[in-house]
């Protein structure tokens, strides 16, 4: 198999079909262009989702603050769209000039979908222009509903565009098994290539990931505007906006690991060696770094909420609980970051005294890690719940019973998570993998039912005082920046994991990478690349924020409506 492939490759290579890029090399050039394009794309796909939701809350909840929030999100989109398109063009030009054989191969299969992609991007851009510039014209009555529908249409275009692009990259990762190096690309049916193993898991994972990312960037924008605010009204508005951004990011983050499990399972089902490379091979250390980043996200997100409770009258009732939540989060992060059976040579194994620590190594296996992350999710949800009910006193007659039921649900969910976590040590791997479904199911069920009970209990609740938006210490805003940087870095890291498991293949098992950059680099090099991309991206985003500030200067309208909690 590889012989014939190598022959084709040799033919291509003999005419310098691959070119090099000056100074940084072709891999780094394509890496930077693809990564920054992807970051902007995630932003412009994630933000419209909650812009439309915020507009709907504004329309149906008759709260003009949400409408203004939605418009402010959308204004950021306008400039970000241009940046997405520019970096997309840079990426395509670099790929087609530096990696001609791969480009020719992909276009031979996916050509028609690429044309469709361009067409829909065109529609998407013009829908966005209509959506933004028509905001004040179509503000009332039926026209407002039509305007809201434009926002929905914008999301539909964006989702289709993403699904199309996902098919190209997932094909490179998991091409259908009947496609071999001998299969002529022009003979491959396009739908057959699109419907590959990881297409839909990646679509869903990215859809949720974009919301997380968009929420985090919006949170950073709000915190920047909060710190730069000159009036109390402005500070109050951006404090609230930062809270909404953080709420969106953290809520979607809670669901994201489940989409990740599905993607991981599909990768294993497609090819064990891909899965082993990802989890246990040369990338095994990547997951320790990921655990550290997730720990930062959970801690920073919760810290922001706990500091925020200082501006809520009545929240002092719940303050004693936060230290216990912190204990659970820190212990969970430590367990999740415990290494086990990492790839190592004999010298390193001898230095470690084995493939894992004799005592703590037991915490490094999936049973312990799944238990830890599920308890961290439960703790974060509890933080949100305490924040939510901080300034109210429930008046429904069954309030005490309801609270007890909620408490029981938390205990039952934690018990189920712990039970299957411990039992996982005594069963075979295939049974153990199934246990994660029960753990996740228990946590999700707890989140859903506790929220329903809480909403019902809050009916007619007595207020203990309005939230004093704007009265937030500046240090809390830097937590939002750490969240945005960490989310962006994490996206770069997981992108490296997804792309890197192909190793020296352009298209796994079908088309070899025969360039001097075929070897997949170590994490240290990848980290430098990721940090470079994040820095470029955030610098450009900072510029966009500054432009947003210029456009909005002195147009702030103070609101007399008290901003409700998200979810009320």
């Amino acid at each position: 198999m590889t012989e014939n492939l190598s022959l084709i490759q040799a033919v291509a290579d003999s005419v310098s079909a691959y070119r090099d890029f000056p100074l940084i090399g072709s891999r780094a050039a394509v890496w930077i262009a693809a990564e920054i394009h992807l970051m902007f794309a995630a932003f412009v796909l994630g933000v419209p989702i909650f812009a439309v939701v915020a507009e709907a809350i504004g329309i149906f909840g008759k709260d003009p603050r949400y409408d203004r929030l939605s418009k402010e999100f959308t204004r950021l989109l306008l400039i970000a769209y241009s940046a997405t398109a520019i970096w997309g063009a840079v990426f395509v030009i670099l790929l087609s000039t530096l990696y001609q054989p791969l480009w020719a191969y992909l276009t031979a299969i996916f050509g028609p979908s690429m044309w469709l992609y361009v067409g829909i991007f065109f529609f998407e851009s013009f829908t966005l222009y209509l959506y933004y510039y028509g905001w004040d014209r179509w503000k009332y009555g039926r026209a407002k509903i039509v305007h809201w529908c434009l926002g929905i249409l914008l999301n539909i275009w964006g989702t289709i565009v993403m699904f199309i692009a996902d098919s190209w990259l997932t094909y490179m990762m998991t091409p259908p098994r009947d496609i071999t190096p001998q299969t002529a690309p022009a003979s491959i049916k396009i739908w057959h290539a699109i419907l590959n193993h990881t297409w839909m898991p990646i679509n869903i994972h990215r859809l949720i990931g974009n919301v997380v990312f968009g929420g985090a960037i919006v949170g950073a924008y709000a915190s920047y505007r909060f710190l730069a605010a000159r009036t109390d009204e402005e500070r109050a508005h951006y404090d609230w906006m930062g809270y909404v951004g953080n709420f969106i990011a953290m809520s979607a983050l809670i669901v994201l690991p489940f989409a990740g499990y599905w993607l991981g399972r599909e990768i294993y089902q497609y090819d064990q060696s891909l899965g082993i490379t990802m989890m246990g091979g040369f990338m095994s250390w990547l997951w320790v770094i990921q655990a550290f980043l997730i720990a930062v996200l959970f801690l920073a997100g919760n810290y922001y909420l706990w500091v925020g409770m200082g501006r809520i009258p009545g929240a002092e009732r719940y303050r004693p609980y936060t230290k216990w939540l912190l204990v659970v989060l820190v212990l969970g992060a430590l367990v999740w970051g415990t290494p086990h059976t990492m790839i190592a040579d004999s010298r390193e194994l001898a230095a470690m005294g084995g493939s894992h620590h004799p005592l703590l190594g037991a915490l490094g296996v999936m049973s312990a890690k799944n238990t830890a992350v599920n308890l961290m999710i439960l703790s974060t949800f509890l933080s949100f719940l305490l924040y939510r009910r901080a300034n109210i006193r429930q008046v429904v007659p069954w309030a005490k019973t309801g609270t007890r039921i909620q408490g029981a649900m938390f205990v039952i969910a934690a018990a189920i998570v712990l039970f299957f976590g411990i039992r996982g040590y005594f069963v075979e791997a295939i049974v153990r993998i199934g246990y994660s479904v029960y753990q996740v199911g228990a946590v999700l069920a707890c989140i859903v039912f506790v929220t329903i009970i809480d909403v019902l209990m809050a009916r007619g609740a007595q207020s203990l005082g309005a939230i004093q938006w704007g009265k937030m210490p500046p240090r809390s805003q830097y937590a939002l920046f750490v969240l945005a940087v960490t989310f962006t870095w994490l996206m770069g890291l997981m992108g490296f994991a997804r792309s890197g498991i192909r190793q020296h293949w352009h298209v796994y098992g079908v088309m070899l990478d025969t360039t001097p950059y075929a070897a997949t680099p170590a994490l240290g090099y990848a980290a430098i690349m990721i940090s470079t991309c994040v820095l470029i991206f955030l610098s450009l985003v900072g510029f966009i924020f500054w432009l947003g500030g210029l456009a909005e200067k002195s147009t702030f309208v103070p609101s007399t409506v008290e901003a409700p909690h998200v979810g009320h």
Partner: protein
Amino acid sequence: MWAINLRIFGVVLGTLALYTLIANKIPQVQSEVPRALSLGANVTPEQLVAAGDQLFHGAGGCTTCHGLGTRAPNLLTDEKGQGPIGARCGKREPGKDCKAYLYESLTNPRAYVVAGYEPIMPDMGRTLSPQQLWALVAFLESNGGTVDVSASDIPSSTTSTPSTSATPSAGIAGGSTDPMTIIRGAGCTGCHKINGEGGAIGPDLTHVGSRLSANLIRESILTPDAKVAKGYEKFKGIMPKVFGNQLTGAQLEALVQFLAAHK
């Protein structure tokens, strides 16, 4: 305002620096590309073992699981008192000698799974060439056993050039004389299109018989640069000049007649 901007910049840079530092402090493992092996008829067991050693500890990715004592059996050290793999491989499956067992373990790993382990081993035939597989077999045999892999076990590589391959050619695609099997096996469709199948780098061969005689087709296969089709001058030099060595006489003639008939 400048103070705020600087503070934000500091937080961003500090966070990035921390993550980059941590990622550079952990063990740095790069995924190497398996080096193509070109083993001729005179290859010695020592050369095979050395090549297998490199693959096992490097690009083959074997140490990801073998040697940790948890995911897969230790191969280079004793396993449950049975010695290293070379000492125990001949006793694993009844009727299978060490060489056959090891080759099967690499190319059809689920055929026999050692008790106590899970069937997680991938088919290495998907990522390694036969030369590399046999080099690995030789290396594993050398750990506690006797190396009996020889040049006769190793199929000739189509990637090796005539000067480096001392193995006589058995033809492309296992010596098949079916023209389309030869065309696919030789990788022609990587550049040429025929009957709607293949790439567009070289001339379309669907109606090549109407443009070229059988003699010219033969000449184009054996010395592709002698005459270059109009419009394809810039691709002169792309087509490999190895088919005279790789195709058997019967294959060459079958191919020429087949293409000449495509009017």
